[in-house]
Subunit: 216 residues, 6 copies
């Protein structure tokens, strides 16, 4: 069975960081995700090989598996899944939450996120660079915005699963999940950086690393 | 009872045209939608008056009324409804379709649209500037992309209502519904422009104008 | 003799859709329009092969043939004609109008257009997304602006030919001629989309399709 | 009678420097050029006061007076003349040249220029940052491109007057006429900067200053 | 004596989040940082009141006080200190490090940072969204780059003080110091978000909060 | 021994012109500066070949040789020296000045420059397109800003060497040194353009050309 945090890593790996994407210089430039060379974004697939399915994706139809440490799973629908998004500056994702599940504090380096609740109820919030927390409880059919680049989270404090559709103004919005980034990077972030930043001991650092480490 | 096409007009009126929005120069600049002066976008509300509800909207929770000429209704969730979206470059909308309903051919002058089907089944398509139609049938949970600026439409050929959540990479994506724009503008587009463009007679032009005119 | 609407199609085909082009990252990146791979825009020609003629074009010197259905012809001077324009974010076109000629309602998905009248007199206008028509009569030496993405047209109601030089803030501004797009796309836009959008019968739809179809 | 170089100064004064303008966040935001506060660009005129003439200009219809030191005159058609251009990212100018007239070496800090010859014949050129001159002779109806930010010039070596229509991908492209900038700035650029930069004596510097100084 | 973490807060407070700033629409638009209304960035000071000191700053000449919990201090030179930077898209900062001092893991939501070492030696690194750490030791006169939006840090493992000059491609790059953001936001981030994200107990959360709390 | 002005040329040659660089579409796209094809900027090096040294540069640690005609030398630290800067929109340079040395009037076609004085004292200034000079004396540790695209200079009127670290909001800011551009371009700018622009004789033009010509 697939290890949940490994999934989370692949997911994180799937992301890049992004901002207001550069505008396109033609109607469409469907990504040729396989081919070299890599440019800023992707080179365009041969026009003759483009068809409607390049603009289509069915991978968000079913809930993702949330039986992992965080009790949540992000399923992306970005340019790597929908090649037609290349140069178009937008993408989506579906996030599922088990009861008690958390999409832990993270940033999208250069995309604003807007979520629409498909089901359940979530406690959501973002923190400004002035250290002010803006949080709210949102229910099915409601919308909340997470401004570009700011740390934010969603938590399901309810007794039933929850799910949202998220949209981003980037073809590859990028995600940096904070705890995972700092405590499981490879090579590892030096212990004395973590002990000083969080004012904790090496023992506590090691415990966190162990708990967040990808399951074998 | 509110005239459906009037609603459609207010809706169209609510829109502006937009592209890759300029990046923000601070965390947030919540729109003060009332106040003068108008700038490119909106001036910022006083920081002390900003709170989490500026980033929240519940107006897409319920289906819109589709008992109108087109059998569809677009409900917007843009910067005019969510002031917190100002400078953030993204927005959403909900589109409801009665059985047989059509969201008629239109453009978003400078936003790419990506839709997620909430329920039902739709025939969707866009046309490139090379006059190629890319179309597909999409079902609940599926996604389709309409590249920035290209004419596109969605039609519900099913027997049950359909609905989508649409996301745009603009705080105010702009909509120009083609038939309505050409045949109901005020002052009206000269008849000889329409007769020549569509190669039809003045009688036919007048009939279309009458049919598309906002209901009294 | 060349079929006028075919010309119009090639023309439309020549266009892509565009917005505020991304800024260049070097002085010049002259388009190598032939070579693969395609990127967003064009890859750069070898520096050693660049010369002054890459920034030159003489194709707008003579009036275009206006003996077609619309009585007008657009001759483009974009990156496909002037490879030196690649990454530079600007282009031109010449539009000629026979007496009674019309440049039918169309959009440039992401370029603002500004026209300077070379000769004759034109009735010009654009329609905002709030459905307001802004129109004016312009004469030789006068200028008019068509904001990015909005439907606009020019008509020669005079007894003599007219011509304009148009400039765009894009290397490939893109054109979507509305009637032609909807009634001659291939594969065709479904009849029930057109009948509902324009509130006309299938017979009328077929007649328009026939009239606008490229001449054999 | 107006002193030619003073005209040139007013002209220079009229300009700002510009690049790929930020995209607009609504259909139109017609400049209220009089009013305070100043923002990046201009604040928008009240919608109720906007009309078609805000997008119109007739100031390029007639040749400009070229009886000045350089034998040329630039007449601008930018946002300061056409308030409707605000946020739209494009503008025009007309340049007239007496026989032997020169539009001296200058830069548009962040706009690419494309010129269409209305009459006469010109020697035109630009210099890259690698110090390569690209030059050509262009005639009536021909086009040439001057890449954004590079020093360029146009000279009329013919026996008859010449004129061009220039277009820029900016609402206010900006002009910095090199000799005038260095030798007539106020307060003046220190003499030892000019003597060292041009490897000439103070006497020669003073002579150039005197020759280029605005006529009393 | 000034409380170090309070300083850090003021600092954080001083920042906004930013990306590739929108281009300016005139030569200069010196920030009128006091005045209302706030727009995206700042409105422009009256031209008559602008002088060379608006483009000048001497606040980075002396080392900052590093006798605080982290043993480092960031002194900013952004648009709030140099009003002339408004619309110009760049800024600087000076960072001083005591022996053993750390500039803890943080992000600049939408600016890339490039540092030049003024004195001493630093261990620096950034982490990609694929969780790869890129780190290096840099000495006096050496440069290192921290890509936009990615978590990064600098640590002085040497026995002497260190200092860098940092440059950003934004007038207000924005900083979100990760531990401080999560453990000292107000209102506070819910404990169960922190315990789950870091897989630690409430006691440990409280201890971290206490250690990072601004000194009274 | 290397001819100083040749160095200056190589330097100028190394530059491109640039503005607000397009945003990146992934974390990093390290430049593969050798490989074809050239695109806008550079194609990305294979991810597997990227390491921390791609983001590092030590070439600004030592003062540059200032024993040349101008008594100054610019050493660049842009994308051509630091491949990791590709798509990141920022770069640096070090400028050294002998006593009496001058960094002659020049423009960075589309980057704003901000300088931090490492040692010595400089007279610096920029000229707006309205021909107003803004100048100041800056000392060690002080900062000054040169707005994008405007002519500017720095001169060391002191008795000791001076040096600055300059930062730019572009990966390749571009430099056009005015006297060198006009008097040493190849092929040469026509004499009658220079005589008329500067109101000097052919003899004086030839003398300047000779003095500024790259040393044999």
């Amino acid at each position: 069975m697939a290890a949940p945090l490994t999934l989370l890593f692949l997911l994180v790996l799937a992301y890049g960081t992004n901002a207001a994407d550069p505008d396109m210089l033609q109607d469409i430039c469907v990504a040729d995700t396989k081919s070299a060379p890599k440019v800023n974004g992707f080179i365009c697939k041969e026009a003759s090989k483009v068809n409607a399915t390049d603009f289509f994706f069915d991978g968000l139809a079913k809930p993702g598996a949330t039986n992992n440490t965080m009790g949540s799973l992000v399923t992306t629908a970005n340019v790597e899944k929908i090649p037609g998004l290349n140069t178009l500056g937008v993408s989506m994702a579906r996030i599922d939450y088990a009861p008690g599940g958390l999409n832990p504090p993270h940033t999208h380096p250069r995309a604003t996120e807007i979520v629409f609740v498909l089901e359940g109820e979530l406690e959501v919030g973002f923190i400004t660079t002035a250290n002010a927390l803006f949080s709210k409880t949102i229910k099915k059919g409601e919308i909340f915005v997470f401004p570009r680049g700011l740390v934010h989270f969603q938590q399901n404090n309810g007794k039933v699963p929850a799910a949202v559709i998220a949209a981003f103004n980037s073809q590859l919005p990028g995600t940096q999940s904070i705890a995972v980034t700092l405590f499981t990077a490879s090579p590892p972030v030096p212990d004395n950086v973590l002990t000083k930043a969080f004012q904790i001991g090496t023992k506590e650092v090691d415990k966190i690393k162990e708990k967040l480490a990808p399951k074998k």
